[in-house]
């Protein structure tokens, strides 16, 4: 192999060129040097493009619904992102980072779509709303705790999201259906990841089992909120945009029940919290999450990054 000429070649690996063409972050997504999503996967930039061309615009109700899903993903990604560089194994730094990235990806798509109703971007919605304007459920803002708490939270989230997205694939709203079609495949992996860890931790050592039980105790009070119907979901289920959250509960109970049974864990006998996240009522944790997430963007209002 000849040497000196190829060491700094611009092609193939080791490309140190900076692709000044379209190096800016604005414009359509294909300008990004970091576009790595293969195939025809739907990206938030694609949705933004459709919006800017006037091809899609959600109704107020649909935007409100997309906001809920977007906020769930965003707040969870914010929580999970903290694990990167702190996980019990390098493999888990990667796995939890991957789940966070998937959640953030879904959030970006849903928020971009929701924003079209009010002429707002995903970043306007993420960085410049106040606490009571967020619509995520309480489960998503629960602290990471130890690894078992994070796994317990992820277990509930991924089984819930799997049921939801697998119904939304057939939504009468084509954008919601398209985002969900991508999301459901990813969430399926999240289910597998969290279920395997529930089994390992519950069936590992005495310590891990005790921690797993405690983890479920801490997050289980926030399960019911996920399956609550309200006026918005009632209207949207009538038009086939979504299904009533309560209709997902049986499958959720059945599938999580199978794993919990295999792990020889009982469903924690803890009272359910009242929730309220879908109406903008949040826990004490939310203010800190937003303070950290929004601080830099708010220091430079109107700036582009």
């Amino acid at each position: 192999m000849s040497t000196k000429d190829t060491d700094f070649a611009i092609e193939g690996h080791g490309d140190i060129s900076v692709g000044v063409h379209g190096a800016g972050a604005s414009g359509d997504g294909s300008a990004s040097a970091t576009r790595i999503t293969p195939g025809n996967a739907l990206r938030p930039e694609d949705i933004a493009l459709e919006i800017s061309r006037g091809q899609v615009k959600p109704s107020e109700d649909i935007a409100g619904f997309a906001l809920r899903l977007g906020d769930d993903g965003l707040i969870l990604a914010q929580r999970l992102g903290h694990w990167i560089s702190r996980a019990p194994e390098l493999e888990e730094d990667i796995a939890l980072g991957n789940i966070a990235l998937d959640q953030l990806g879904h959030a970006r798509s849903f928020l971009t779509y929701a924003g079209a109703a009010w002429d707002k971007s995903e970043d306007d919605l993420a960085y410049f709303r106040r606490e009571h304007e967020f619509r995520s459920a309480h489960l998503f803002e629960q602290p990471n705790g130890d690894f078992a708490v994070t796994i317990a939270r992820q277990f509930i989230v991924s089984f819930y999201q799997y049921e939801l997205y697998s119904r939304l694939v057939e939504s009468t709203d084509s954008t919601i259906a398209a985002i969900s079609a991508k999301a459901v495949k990813e969430v399926d992996y999240h289910r597998d990841h969290s279920a395997q860890w529930v089994l390992r931790l519950a069936g590992g050592t005495d310590e891990s089992r005790a921690r797993m039980i405690q983890g479920f105790k801490l997050v289980w009070p926030y399960v019911d909120e996920l399956f609550e119907d309200d006026e918005l979901t009632t209207r949207l289920s009538e038009s086939g945009v979504t299904v009533q959250p309560s209709s997902l509960r049986d499958e959720f109970d059945r599938l999580t029940g199978q794993i919990l049974a295999e792990a020889e864990l009982d469903i924690p006998g803890v009272p359910q919290a009242p929730g309220g996240g879908r109406r903008g009522k949040h826990s004490e944790f939310m203010g800190y999450i937003l303070a950290e997430m929004q601080v830099l963007a708010r220091e430079h209002p109107g700036a582009s990054w």
Partner: protein
């Protein structure tokens, strides 16, 4: 060949063993002279193994410790797109650490042992990660300068004589190339942004420039291991040679950014055809390397904390796997 001088054959070897050693050495020498590859099962001089193990494990540690300064901004990234890119980048670094630990394991040391050495402060990692990331623009400067310098160092390593290392580096370099671009993109956006953003970008470049030049290692006349590594086809270019090439590239790119490098002495020497830079504070380099940098203690502590907090999880995974295996055996 220099490698032969380092090879010492212990006296207690039987004649057959001595013959095997000599044949191994001859094979090794031929592979090196043909610029071909040594694989894990091949015979190799003990010093070659030791040098590679040191270099690859240090490289792996650098990836793992290097996650921290950037992870510092994941929760505060100022746009969701940037947050997503930064998460993916730090995740890539964990992946690089994994490939490299695996490559190092083929030389006979376990990942656990390497991790223990890192936490105990016995192992080194790139000293640049002992500097703090105090602004968002540091994400840009790290991508552009630090990853840029890393690429200059690492592209030649794709042809390193040790197969597993060279192959790991191919994939790592591909990803590093994205990292460098995203850093450049961050700085370009800041430089074209508000005056406060542009100032943030210039400040970050000012702080990361000299440390990134020092990533290539001490000047050639003060780099005792370089010669041997070059003779073994592990290292292909000298520290100063790579540094000079890097400066040449940055000089052009900084113009596109609309920023400046904090070095008045950069010039292209027409006689040597090499880029030259101003003096670097090698005393600071040695201080940071010796553990007296701004974040040395913090970085190791974070790694220790993550590792120790995770001990019960790793133990659970092992215990569960053992129980599952017992079930299968019993069935």
């Amino acid at each position: 060949m220099a490698s032969q001088n380092l090879q010492s054959v212990p006296a207690e070897l039987s004649p057959e063993e001595q013959e095997r050693e000599a044949a191994g050495q001859a094979y090794f020498d031929r592979i090196i002279s043909e610029d071909s590859r040594i694989e894990p099962r091949d015979w190799m001089p003990a010093a070659y193994r030791k040098t590679l193990l040191r270099q690859i494990s240090q490289h792996a540690h650098s990836e793992i410790i290097g996650m921290q300064p950037e992870a510092n901004w994941i929760t505060r990234a100022p746009s969701l797109k940037r947050k997503s890119i930064l998460m993916a980048k730090v995740q890539d670094e964990a992946g690089h650490g994994l490939y490299l630990y695996s490559a190092a394991e083929t030389l006979g040391q376990s990942r656990d042992q390497m991790m223990e050495d890192l936490i105990a402060g016995k192992a080194r990692y790139s000293s640049i990660f002992n500097y703090p990331t105090i602004s968002w623009a540091d994400m840009g400067a790290i991508g552009w300068l630090v990853d840029g310098a890393a690429i200059c160092n690492q592209v030649p390593l794709c042809r390193a004589s040790y197969g597993p290392y060279g192959r790991a580096m191919v994939r790592i370099c591909k990803e590093e190339s994205f990292h460098q671009r995203q850093g450049f993109e961050i700085l370009l956006e800041l430089s074209n942004g508000t005056p406060a953003q542009k100032q943030m970008a210039q400040d970050a470049v000012n702080r990361w420039y000299a440390p990134s030049l020092m990533m290539f290692g001490p000047p050639d006349d003060d780099s005792p291991n370089s010669k041997q590594s070059m003779a073994w086809n592990i290292k292909r270019f000298s520290n100063d040679e790579l540094r000079s090439r890097f400066v040449g590239m940055m000089v052009e790119q900084v113009k596109v950014l609309g920023l400046t490098l904090p070095d008045k002495d950069i010039r292209f020497n027409e006689e040597t055809k090499k880029w030259e830079h101003g003096p670097l504070d090698w005393n600071e380099f040695k201080e940071v390397l010796a553990g007296r940098g701004p974040c040395n203690s913090q970085r190791i502590e974070r790694r220790r904390e993550a590792h120790e907090n995770g001990a019960w999880v790793r133990e659970a995974a092992v215990a569960y796997a053992r129980k599952q295996a017992e079930k299968v055996n019993a069935a």
